[in-house]
């Protein structure tokens, strides 16, 4: 748990820095404009780019759900990397597009939903990667002790079960995606309705 705490601190610090940097960049980009950056042509464009970057994150869960043979064939792992990369880069671009402005509640709710999905994903990945690393380490140690494979598997299954108790993040990550998509669509429709094409 100590390594988990250290990693959690590091991830929190990096996330806070990235959020601050994104809001700072929006502030810089707004200087000299007649409006906040998000309401300029470049700001709109960045919002669309952020959305386009974000869209590939859905390929991984869809493949996992509708192509159960994917893990065996080994083509799920690259999509998981895409899921993680796009799931970080997309929200950062959207944070720059949004800036630290919290007046209109529809985009604010969409941003909160996006934050919940992103943070829960980061928490999940942090816990999961640490657990996998610990399992591999333990597997090596047990092998070196010369334990039979059956006993090793039994002990590792116990350890894996402990990791599963930390899967509370899953209860946020996938479900909040649904209100996020709905609120984002609503925000886009509203922006086009009031702001024009």
């Amino acid at each position: 748990m100590n390594s988990l705490g250290a990693r959690a601190r590091l991830v929190t610090m990096v996330a806070a820095f990235v959020v601050g940097a994104a809001f700072g960049m929006e502030w810089l980009l707004s200087l000299g404009e007649g409006a906040e950056f998000g309401h300029t042509r470049s700001g709109h464009l960045l919002g669309w780019v952020g959305l386009m970057v974000l869209l590939p994150v859905f390929i991984y869960p869809l493949k996992k759900r509708y192509a159960p043979e994917a893990p065996r064939r080994g083509w799920l792992q690259p999509w998981f990397r895409v899921h993680m990369m796009a799931g970080i880069l997309g929200p950062v671009l959207i944070l720059i597009h949004a800036g630290a402005h919290f007046h209109a509640l529809v985009p604010v709710l969409a941003l909160i939903a996006l934050a919940l999905v992103t943070v829960s994903g980061i928490v999940g990945q942090t816990i999961h990667s640490l657990a996998v690393r610990q399992l591999n380490q333990e597997w090596r140690e047990l092998h070196e002790q010369g334990l039979p494979e059956g006993e090793i598997q039994e002990r590792l299954a116990e350890r894996a079960a402990q990791e599963e108790t930390f899967r509370f993040w899953q209860l946020v990550h996938a479900p909040v995606t649904i209100p996020f998509v709905a609120l984002t669509l609503l925000h886009i429709i509203g922006a086009l309705f009031f702001g024009g094409w």
């Binding site: 209109a104 509640l105 529809v106 479900p175 209100p179 309705f193």
Partner: protein, 192 residues
């Protein structure tokens, strides 16, 4: 590591919850659209605008045609100084875009002219003088440059009542007499 799927009722419940959220947003948008959709409060100049569609045309944004519905030539000539009126009438006649110079939803006290001068007096000056815009006391050149004072009744009254305190370079001392935001100050300098 074993994949643990979510409990079965989670996703259907989230779907229903999202539908309820959207229905609530629809109702709230009907009741208070500015709270849910506007990027900021309307300026004091447009505080009495009753509907988003007074200025916005669906899927076209705020359009000059809607600005002109209220700010036509007659209204501009009646309310603006001759130089400001002339500049605006020229734009109206060539069917120029109002949004090239004007903006909105930046806050109650924010200027609606892009690149407009900052109000150094704060909200207090509007309460104290009853003015609604900077142009009541100042002549603001469309070419830019510092604004000059008008020679009209609100300005004369301000200068007389301040006994020198309201002259150029002295306005920053306003809180010496107007501490707490009081607008009326007695003969002895105390508020009443």
């Amino acid at each position: 590591m074993r994949y643990v799927p979510l409990p079965v009722p989670v996703m259907p419940n989230v779907f229903v919850g999202t539908l309820l959220l959207l229905a609530w947003l629809g109702w709230e948008s009907y009741r208070a659209p500015e709270t849910w959709w506007a990027p900021g409060d309307l300026s004091r100049a447009h505080a009495d605008v009753g509907s988003c569609l007074h200025c916005h045309q669906p899927f076209k944004g705020a359009v000059s045609r809607n600005c002109v519905a209220c700010h036509g030539e007659t209204q501009i000539v009646r309310t603006a100084s001759p130089d400001v009126a002339a500049a605006h009438i020229e734009v109206l006649r060539r069917k120029g875009n109002c949004l090239a110079c004007h903006t909105e939803h930046r806050g109650v006290l924010a200027p609606i002219t892009i690149g407009a001068l900052h109000n150094p007096h704060g909200e207090f000056i509007f309460r104290a003088t009853g003015a609604r815009t900077c142009g009541v006391c100042h002549i603001i050149s469309p070419e830019g440059g510092p604004p000059s004072l008008r020679d009209n009744q609100p300005v004369r009254q301000l200068l007389e009542q301040g006994k020198g305190a309201h002259r150029r370079g002295r306005m920053a001392d306003c809180l010496r007499c107007h501490a707490g935001g009081v607008t009326e100050v007695g003969q002895d300098g105390n508020d009443r």
